[in-house]
Every structure is written in structure tokens, then in C-alpha cells.
Amino acid sequence: MPYFRGVCNFCGTGCGHLLRVEGNRVRGVYPLSGHPLSRGRLCVRGWHIHELLQTEDRISQPLIKDGSSFKPVSYEEALDYVVERVKKLPGRQVAVLGSPRASNEENYLLGKFARAILKTNNLSLSSDAGQEESARVLLEGCGWPAMTGTLAELRQADFILVVGGDLTKQNPIIASEIHHAHRAGTFLATISPRKTQMARLSQLHLRPKPGTIFYLLQGLARVLVEEKAIDDDYLSTFTVNSQTFLEELKQVEIEKIVEATGISREQMTGLARKLKESNSACAFYPTGVQSLDRRTMAALFNLFLLAGKIGRRGSGVNPVTGISNLLGSYDMGLSPVFLPGYASVEDELAWERLENFWQTKLDRWSGKNVDTCLSEGEDIKALFVVDHDEEIIRHVNRIRQLDLIVYFGAYENPFASLAHVIFPRTSYVEEEGTYTNSERRVQLVLKRIEPPAGVRPLWKTLTNLAQALGHDWNYHSVENIMSEISQLVPYYRSLTYEKLKARLGLKWPNDDLHPEGTDCLLVEEASRRFRFVQVNGQEKKLAGEPEVQKDFPFKLVVGRSNYFWHQNSVMKRTFIPKREYNALLLLYPRGFVEISKEDASRLGLREKQVVRIVAESAEVRLAARISGDILPGMLYIPYFIDEMIPEFLHRQVADLEKNEEFFLPVRLEKVV
């Protein structure tokens, strides 16, 4: 059978690929050279997506918990089970966890199900920490919640700054675009404490101490002012609060920043000058599981605004999403703070619009994300989860106390065993759907194979549940849902399946003014004004840093790597990426912690020597892996939960997973 065109579903790059379908099986994959973004490239994950789609670990029928195991039931029985239990619960006692891998249509419907039927505003995604902050920072700064430029333009930039994370691992093909730009002459700088591959590919690598990127970016802004490299005309024409910002910036003392970050004034000046001299400058930072914190994103935006790089073609600040439909899931309002289309939950008019549109009364109380729901108080009694990525497993004890857990998933998953009811769902090539990548490109994935017999797509199951709870949604196809989305989400106004079928995606906003999508909206409106994003006093304080303490002299940071991506729940179902994962894991069966060469030799540590990492209230034993990639004083644990990060991190630091700027003060002891 032939190759079929499609879109990779792993990270937020959204590369084009060809799937080789034989019978009803996906038997191979090949990059699509005509794709405007990936231009014929795939990363190690993308090259093995067919292995994932082969897996036999499917959930193939509805299941209800029966003692310690599950019994297969009909859809009707499973629906009845849920309806009976959920209709008694007030919305405040229910939380809904969506999946950033699910399509726009599925996530839109899940949000509608939560708000309109379950009457809960407790809804969020797993792995969403950074994306929400990023959208809020950008909305405040420029009224626009996502990448201000496009990926296709980045090869034209003459200055690129990558901050935090490791794009070569999280979004390899975007990193490849950046690398190509650099090879063609673009100045490329990376700011990250770790010597990542992105850093190795850069001309300049600034390595601030963990947790100090914010100060470094403030320092760069301060240096721009000192160098008199500010365009006052630009600031007075395009920004509204530059005076306040400049006034506050005066309080930033370079000496203190040099001390805090370990970066010299000369290095800062060098980079600031390059930024100022550039015609078009882009910044990239990862969002998703691993991301920057709010203040650092704000400082980065402010730096670029101060340098006059916002609202110019080929320039801008660009968040890069780590998971296929992370951005789209937010576009659909799967968040406690945004309604569909980024309307604020504080906007009464938006609520009324939604009520009219959905023909039902909605509750306005302010919802929380699922993580917060589970870690605070005992209010939550029921949890609805789609395709969980093993992340909230750290709340496992709390989850076990819940009265009702409903799981919707395509693949078997350790989380599913906690559920009371399990609904199977189709995988991403078994049903149509759209996915929105980092650069706002909405791409349609068509159905290429039949799901296992009897398995319904998520939208059908949700529609059935809605029906059973007294709401007739009347959807006959996924396309119906998209036409509803296009009426409700302004950015998706003129998107249709017909249009998407004939194109390799369209970048939102896609409306009457932009029938072919939009590259950079900010340059279109001459009247648009930008704001320097507020960073509150608490966030700003140097003294507020968790000081390196005498008892806990090391800063422990967690990060991600190619094969250990997403706690491996996905990669485990492949062969080659799994082998690579095992290759490393077998060397360090109890996990490892990276330590710098300098510290290792000071402490007299050998490679693979077992050490104890002690934090304030917990400790763990791991093998030492001596690395030239991390700074003295820093320890690094790659991020793959089940095998590597035991109870220690589950209990200790939910925040460690949220952003790489966060670290845990620990001490390291030899095990004798």
C-alpha cells in the first residue's frame, strides 16, 4: 500500500511525514520534503512513530474496575456507571485533565464537557506549566499569546538567542532550522547553565549559575541602557510604559548581577551589542514540561522590546511548545484561566457569549489546575483524565482516595490502573483532527487506518456522555466540531477542513482578513502598542533566591533528553528509541546524577560511584556520572520519572518539573 501524507504527533514542531500503511497497519515512516517547516527532516522520535503505532498495548474496550482488576463492559454500561456517579457531584468536586497530544476538536469538546456539563472550571493539561505563563506574559506584552514570528522566517534573522532547555532534544527540527541559520551566517547565542548541544552549536554560550537567567536578562537590559543603545523614538512610538520600566531598570546593579550569575560585564556587553546591532533578532525558549519561569519569560520579552525587536518582521520572542498540540489545547481554552480563544475567565462578556453559544448556564467560580486541585485540600471527588503522561502519578495517594476516576486512553498506561472506568479511544491516525504547532500552524491529520473493532473516537464518547447527561450535542463528524470552533475562536474563524485538506497547514489567525493565515500579525497594525511586562517585587528580589546554603551546597536541576522524553510512556512502546533508553539505563540501573569534573575530582568521586543526594526532607542514592557539561556547584538529573526519579522527587519537588530555572538545594555524600 502507498505512503500517506501526515503530520508527526510527538513534539510541537509538527513536522510533515509520510506514513506507510500496509493492510491496516502503519509499517513505516518517511520525512516529507515538501513540508514548509520540516523540509524533509525528522528527529529520532519522528523516525520511529510507526513503531509506536504498531504497539499491541492498546486499550480496546471499555473497562470497569472489579476488585483489583478490570472487567470488560459495553459502552452503555460504562456510560451508565459514570453518569450515575457524576450527576450527584457538584462541579467544584470534579477536575478534568486533558492531553496536549489530543486534537483541537477533542480538547475543545473536553473543555465544553467540563464547563457546560460537569459545571467545573477545574480543567487543565498535563505538562502545561510553562505554556500558560508564556501566553500570559505575551498577552500582557503584545496582546498576542503565542510565537510573535514564524519558524519559516528564522533563517532570515541575523541574531538568534536561545534561552534555557535544550531545543536539540525537545524540538530537534526547530533546533536544526536554527543551526542552518547559524551556518548561513546568523549570530547564535545560547543562555543555559548546562552545556547542551544547542550551546555547542552556538557561537556564544553564556552559562549563568542555575536559577539566575532572569538576572542575566535584566543585566543585559541594563547594559543596553548604559551603552546608550536605546532607540527613544521606537520606545515612545510603540510602547506605553517604557518610562516606568527604565526607571525600575536603574535599580539593577550590574556588579550584583555579575556576582549572582557568574557572567562578566564584558560578556554581557558583548551580547547586548550584538543584539542592538542586529536588524532582525529572534529569541526562542521552550515551554511545556520544561520551561522558563514567568519572571524569566517576562525579562526576555522586555529585553527584546527594549532593543526594539518586537513588532518587526523577522524579529520577535518565540515560545517553542514541547508537545504536539500544546498550543492548540490552549487555543481551545483547556485551562483554568482562559476560555476558548484566550478570552479571560474574568471577562463577563466572554462568559455570556459562551453561554449563548452553548445554550447552557455556566458557573463563573475560579477554577484551578488539576495539579493544584490534587495537592490542596480534599474538595475533589472525581477526576476525568485523557491519555495521561504519568505526570500526576506523584499524587497517587491522593488519587486513590477519589470516588470516581474516568480514564480515556488509546494505550495501556500505569495511570489507567487507578481508574474506576476506562474508555478506549482512537490513536491519532485512526480519526481526523487538527493539531496546532509552535508557530500557530493548524494542520489536519486524516484518518489513515481503522481503529481496533468497536473503539470509538474521544469526541464520540464525550458526545455519548453528554447525551446521557441530558445534553444533545448533535455532532456527526469531527468536522462539525471544527465548524463550531471556527465560530467561537476568532483566530480560527475561517478554518475549514476543505481548506486544510488542500494545504500543509495554515497559521492562525485565519480569518476574513487573513484567508491564507498570518505570518506576523504584530507588524500589520501600525497602531499596535506594546507593554513592558510587569515583574513583581517578590519575583525580582535577588535576596529572594534560595541562597546556596551551607548544609546544602549543591543546586540540583532536572532536564530532559532525547530518549527519556515524556517519562518514556510513549518511547517505551518503540524498539529503537527504547533500546537507546535502555542502553543508558542499563549502565545506571539505579539512575544517575551528573556532577561536574571539577566537583568530582575535588570530592574524589569515580564514575558510577554511588552517592547519596540529601535534600531537606528526603534523600536518594544514585550513581555519579561525571560530566563536562555542567557547572561546578550544580547537579543534574535527566527527567524520566518512573525509572530514574523515584519517590524522592515525586514527594519533594513538583516545581522541579515545571521549569529549569528551579533548583533544589542538596548536599552530596559518598556512600561508604
Partner: protein, 355 residues
């Protein structure tokens, strides 16, 4: 040599379709991409299409293939093995000479050594190959540097050369000759031989104008690699840019490395799978007891080029393991496809500055 008119081409394809599953280049309408693909709809075959982004390797050596199925019966302690029939007659129409050369390299690996790979053989046995001369090179091509084009010299059943309107046909096998006779093709006069030569010469001399993406001075690099005098810094520079995706191996018409996995099926059977593998992966050379002769990425990278240009393919097959198709250069996220690597090696030889 014979003449095949434009009008006769569909007849030829039709004739082959009676006996073989037809593969050939087609266009994807939305992306414009040329894909070498199975063609249930024969009218999709486009012999004028550019070189396909995928080599025909997947037809003989699939990305993911079940090669054996067995069931273990615990009660009887017996294993029942199911024989799979992979034999299926296939015709590859419009193969470019680089890809045909790649296929012949695969033949040498899978068939011409002590161990004959029966799965590859099953795919290869009933194959009909129609090659297609490149009357003009494509931007990424450098087959003239690797002695693999722009026209085929061996390995085909029929070879086509487009002359502007019709095709000159050369039969390369008895099967091919029989088909020519069955179709009653007109025999070409001796001048036509010169015409074919002229077309190929023109193609070769137009590389300077059209094939501008890559240059690969393979022979100098082979020489240098074979004598082993390349500074470690050069490999380190190359290794730093490797994203470890495996794409260079997957798209290479001559790369033959594979992995074997046994996957347990829900039915209780076990499926033995053969999948593509790549020397760029750390797990590829990993051995028991925590040994890995090629652990650092730069060592894995140089392994690839030693294999292509020195000990494995070049010394054993007496030709480079590269056919000059330029695919690895386009697919590589790190921009270290073979032509660039050859350039870095050459720069080291000549002492040119630069990267």
C-alpha cells in the same frame, strides 16, 4: 536498442502490471513531493518527475517487517513456527541509476556473502527493474563523483532514455528482451546509440550548471580515510553537529543495517521483526558488560564514513558506499550529510581555512 514511443509507455506499464505489483515515482499533489511508491493507480506514474525523496530500498528491505511468526505452547513445550510468504513479484519503474546502484550494493550485502538473506532474496527474486536515465541532473546530485550515474550500466531489465519525445530502450536481461519482443518495439538504428551517448554526455556536462547543492570529491576523501590520517578534531567538529536521528542511514540507498526484535502479540503469538537501524545510535554498538567501542557521537559519525568510503563498502565492493543521490545532505538536521563531511576532510587535506 529499441524505440518506445510515448504512446507505448502505458502499454509497457500495463503489461508489467499483469504480472507484477507496480512501483514508481508519483507526485503528492498537496506537497509537490515526488515519492517512489506502490501505484495502485497506474496513471500516477510520472517518469519525468524529479528524483524521489525516498530510495526504493523499502521495497526490498522494509522499514519494519515481520519476518517470522511463532507461538510457544507451554502445555506441549513446543514452538509452532509460521512460514511467511514474502515472495511477491514487483516491478520498479523509473528507477534512477543512483538508486539502481544502491540496490546492487544491497544485493552484495544481503546475497553475495557467505550468508544469503532469505527475506531479502524473497523480495528480490521476482523483481523487474526499469531504469530511467537522468537527462539532466537535479540540484542535489553528485553521481558523477561516485560512478553511479547519470545513466545505468548494469542491473536493469529494461533501461529507458528519454529523447525529447520517445524513449530509447535497452534490454539488460532475458526478461527484458522478452518484453521488448512481446511489445513489438521497433529496433533502433546504430545512430540511436550515438544519440543515447550524446544525451548522457550532455547530462554529465550540465552538472556544473544544475547540480549545485553538493560537491563531493570522493576519491581524495577515500584515499585519506583509507590511510587513516584525519585529525580527531575534524570528527569532533562533525560529531557536535550530529542530532543522532539516524536519518542518514534510513535514507541511504546502500545502508543495510538492521535490528531484530521479538514482539509479543495480543493473540499470544510472537512476531519477529526486522527494522532499520543506524550506526549513529549509541545502542547500535553497545555490547554486554558495559562495553562500547563507539560510545562518543563523533566515533559513531566517523564509523559511518569509514564504512561508506573505506573499509566496509569501498574495500569489499570496490566502489564507494555512496551513490551520489544527495539525500543524506537534505535530510540531516545537523547539515553533516556525506558531501559536507567530504568537504571537511578535503579542507583538512588542503589546509583551507573555514569550518
Amino acid at each position: 536498442m529499441y524505440w518506445l514511443t510515448k504512446e507505448q509507455l502505458p502499454l509497457l506499464v500495463q503489461k508489467l502490471a499483469e504480472e507484477y505489483k507496480i512501483f514508481g515515482p508519483r507526485h503528492d499533489r498537496v506537497s509537490g513531493e515526488v515519492i517512489f511508491d506502490h501505484l495502485p493507480d497506474l496513471s500516477e506514474l510520472d517518469l519525468q518527475a524529479a528524483i524521489p525523496y525516498n530510495p526504493p530500498k523499502f521495497i526490498l528491505f522494509p522499514h519494519y517487517e515481520e519476518i517470522l511468526k511463532y507461538r510457544y505452547q507451554p502445555e506441549t513445550k513446543k514452538v509452532r513456527i509460521e512460514q511467511l510468504n514474502l515472495l511477491e513479484p514487483k516491478a520498479l519503474i523509473g528507477l534512477r541509476s543512483c538508486d539502481l546502484t544502491g540496490l546492487l550494493c544491497l544485493d552484495r550485502f544481503f546475497l553475495d556473502q557467505e550468508y544469503v538473506d532469505e527475506f531479502y532474496l524473497a523480495h528480490r527474486k521476482k523483481l523487474f527493474i526499469v531504469s530511467n536515465t537522468c537527462i539532466r541532473p537535479f540540484p542535489q546530485c553528485f553521481c558523477v563523483c561516485t560512478d553511479s550515474g547519470p545513466a545505468a550500466r548494469e542491473g536493469f531489465d529494461l533501461d529507458l532514455t528519454f529523447t525529447g519525445r520517445d524513449y530509447l530502450v535497452e534490454a539488460g536481461s532475458k526478461k527484458g528482451q522478452a518484453l521488448v519482443e512481446e511489445l513489438n518495439l521497433v529496433e533502433a538504428d546504430p545512430e540511436s546509440l550515438n544519440l543515447r551517448k550524446q544525451i548522457i554526455d550532455d547530462s554529465v556536462s550540465s552538472f556544473d550548471r544544475f547540480a549545485l547543492e553538493n560537491k563531493a570529491w570522493i576519491s581524495r576523501a577515500t584515499n585519506r580515510l583509507t590511510t587513516g590520517f584525519i585529525k580527531p578534531e575534524v570528527w569532533e567538529y562533525i560529531g557536535n553537529q550530529c542530532f543522532e536521528c539516524g536519518a542518514c542511514s534510513f535514507v541511504c540507498p546502500t545502508c543495510s543495517c538492521f535490528n531484530i526484535e521479538d514482539a509479543n502479540l495480543a493473540s499470544g503469538e510472537t512476531s519477529r521483526l526486522r527494522t532499520w537501524d543506524s550506526c549513529s545510535f549509541e545502542g547500535y554498538t553497545k555490547m554486554a558488560g558495559d562495553h562500547n567501542p563507539r560510545k562518543p557521537v563523533e566515533d559513531r559519525r566517523n564509523k559511518r564514513f569509514f564504512c561508506k568510503l573505506s573499509y566496509s563498502q569501498s574495500k569489499k565492493y570496490l566502489r564507494p558506499g555512496c551513490v551520489g543521490c544527495g539525500r543524506c545532505a537534505r535530510v540531516c538536521p545537523g547539515d553533516i550529510g556525506l558531501p559536507n563531511v567530504v568537504t571537511y576532510i578535503r579542507r583538512e587535506i588542503t589546509g583551507e581555512s573555514g569550518e
